[in-house]
């Protein structure tokens, strides 16, 4: 029906998912709707004559802003406030992917790295304050990938690389276990 017009298909699917999510109070369907909306953003950019990674990144950030503000607005209006966690979850993932893709750039990655560190700090603080370990996990994993890519940039010595992963891997384990112990509930 929408042959060759996948962006319309995605937009229609987004609308349907949102309707079903709010109608049947289902956060799983809401996450599908938000993902379809992200897909629509991406496809719209792919139609542009000279779409580049930087354009994708900027529109991913715009998507995060729109969805985050939308989710917060709906929460404040009391419209299924428990959906806010789903909005935040999707926004966090898209944001971290966008920032990481900037960190992986060959040039001009400094600003993206700072933004990644800031986002990791915010995610960690939010996770600890709200006792949602998912956001602590995002900060740990995305932050680890970003910081590792910076540290290992240009390092070719196998021993140094492997030693780095052993030391930092164990350090991350210790930190995460301590966080879990300090803020977690007992078994």
């Amino acid at each position: 029906m929408f042959s060759g017009q996948w962006d319309f298909y995605l937009l229609a699917a987004t609308g349907l998912f949102f309707f079903l999510a709010y109608r049947f109070d289902n956060r799983f369907v809401l996450s599908l709707g938000l993902s379809s909306l992200a897909g629509w953003f991406g496809l719209t950019i792919s139609h542009w004559p000279a779409h580049q990674d930087s354009a994708y990144r900027q529109y991913a950030l715009l998507y995060c802003l729109l969805v985050g503000i939308g989710g917060a607005f709906l929460q404040r209006r009391g419209l299924k406030p428990h959906f806010f966690a789903t909005y935040l979850n999707i926004v966090a993932n898209v944001l971290f992917w966008a920032l990481l893709s900037g960190v992986f750039n060959r040039q001009g990655y400094g600003l993206w790295f700072l933004a990644l560190l800031f986002a990791c700090g915010a995610s960690l603080a939010w996770g600890l304050a709200r006792r949602h370990f998912a956001f602590v996990a995002y900060a740990a994993v995305y932050g680890y990938v970003g910081v590792s890519s910076m540290f290992l940039r240009g390092v070719t010595d196998e021993t140094a690389v492997l030693g780095y992963f052993v030391v930092t891997g164990v350090a991350m384990l210790v930190v995460l276990v301590r966080i879990g112990r300090r803020f977690g509930r007992p078994a």
Partner: protein, 402 residues
């Protein structure tokens, strides 16, 4: 034989049930807190996100440590030497997993699981490397290589039995898939051997689980049975288990040419017979996992019927299937709710437990971010202290507490 004592696991199960019931409002907060104090376990657990992250970093650390050992101490090891060290790593990892459980009392904590998984990986690498990789003089190297997946299957089953990790059972089933390939050249025989192996396992599980109908082992056996039913179905559905699946489906060629005609059509009959059998078994046992697998294999039968018969596929086929499934999803709850007290044959559409929230949370976390990749084509040329989640169902996954 099991690493955890029965009372500890039973206590943890009771705590999970309490959380489910409290989450659905069956228990008041005061009742929950009182009962929670009576079900204190010495085992240390983690929520699913913490578990996943700890699993990941343990895996990174162990893999990097093993690689570092080879780089520092063995610059160019022979396959035999590398194999021996892999086997030593396997033993060390397994011992570490046992110690993590027995001393640190870790239970589904990620760390001990990753160590156990690494031990299976190192065992397979250790057996593959010295015995088969660099030995061109073996008379039938392929035939002897079946020892590698066999060892993987046996060790995975041991870990499933010892630690109760359901995905170790799945790993054993996957290892089993590779066994017939080393012993026979017939594709039909391969499918048959795999299906028969799973069926044998199913009989064994069904016999054992009847003794654990209401205890902490029930869920593990239920999942194992569901996986075996799914494995049997996938083994006999030649359209799904063939290697060149996309080419067959979209290129219009059929798998029939690979197989003898009687075998091919016998499997077609079986894929229609199996879903009702699985569904009836699940309904009779009141087993959610088996019912879910029954529904999945029924959908797979609908999906694979046209390729089986060699009929052309249309773009609207998925829409029709979606409409059918939506209709069923609407009809069944209403039909159940229409019974006396909202119950028919012991089934109700009303939510009795928040058990499914856990799976929906995880599912939406994983599928939500991934779904754009699956549905988007390629670029065109042109309570502050005790939380139980919110909402009726589903979730973005971010709502799990510590």
């Amino acid at each position: 034989m099991r690493l955890y004592c029965a009372s500890s696991e039973e206590t943890l199960r009771a705590r999970r049930l309490l959380a489910d019931w409290a989450g659905e409002g069956i228990l008041t907060k005061a009742q929950y807190q009182r009962l929670e104090q009576e079900t204190v376990s010495e085992l240390r657990t983690a929520n699913i996100f913490q578990r996943l992250v700890l699993f990941l970093f343990t895996l990174v650390s162990v893999a990097a440590a093993a690689a570092l050992f080879f780089v520092v101490f063995l610059s160019r090891p022979s396959p035999q030497a590398a194999g021996v060290f892999f086997l030593i790593f396997a033993a060390v990892c397994y011992a570490a997993a046992e110690v993590a459980v027995s001393q640190a009392r870790l239970y589904r904590y990620g760390i001990e699981e990753a160590l156990a998984v690494c031990s299976v990986g190192f065992l397979c690498a250790g057996m593959q490397s010295p015995f088969f990789s660099a030995n061109p003089y073996l008379p039938k190297p392929d035939a002897a290589q079946f020892l590698v997946p066999a060892a993987g299957a046996v060790f995975s089953l041991w870990i499933w039995h010892r630690l109760g990790l359901s995905y170790a059972f799945l790993a054993a089933m996957i290892f089993l898939l590779f066994l017939p390939g080393y012993r026979t050249l017939s594709h039909s025989a391969e499918h048959l051997i795999v299906a028969m192996s799973y069926a044998t396992g199913l009989v064994g599980i069904a016999a054992v689980r009847s003794r654990h109908r209401f205890d902490y082992l029930e869920e593990g056996y239920s999942l194992a049975e569901a996986l075996l039913w799914l494995g049997i179905y996938l083994a006999i559905n030649l359209q799904l288990s063939s290697f060149n699946l996309p080419a067959q489906w979209w290129g219009g060629t059929r798998a029939a040419s690979e197989f003898a005609r009687p075998f091919y059509w016998a499997t077609w009959v079986l894929i229609w017979c199996l879903p009702p059998i699985v569904l009836v078994r699940g309904l009779r046992q009141r087993d959610r996992f088996v019912i879910a697998v029954g529904a999945i294999v029924a959908i797979l039968t609908f999906v694979s019927n046209k390729p089986y018969l060699g009929w052309p596929r249309h773009t609207w086929d998925p829409m029709l299937l979606g409409i059918l499934l939506t209709g069923i999803a609407f009809f069944i709850p209403r039909w159940l709710a229409g019974g006396r007290g909202g119950i028919r044959h012991g089934f109700t559409a009303a939510r009795l437990s928040g058990k499914d929230k856990h799976w929906m949370n995880l599912g939406s976390t994983v599928l939500g971010p991934l779904s754009p990749h699956s549905i988007t084509p390629g670029p065109q040329t042109s309570s502050p202290d005790v939380r139980f989640g919110g909402g009726q169902s589903g979730g973005g996954g971010a709502s799990s507490d510590f």
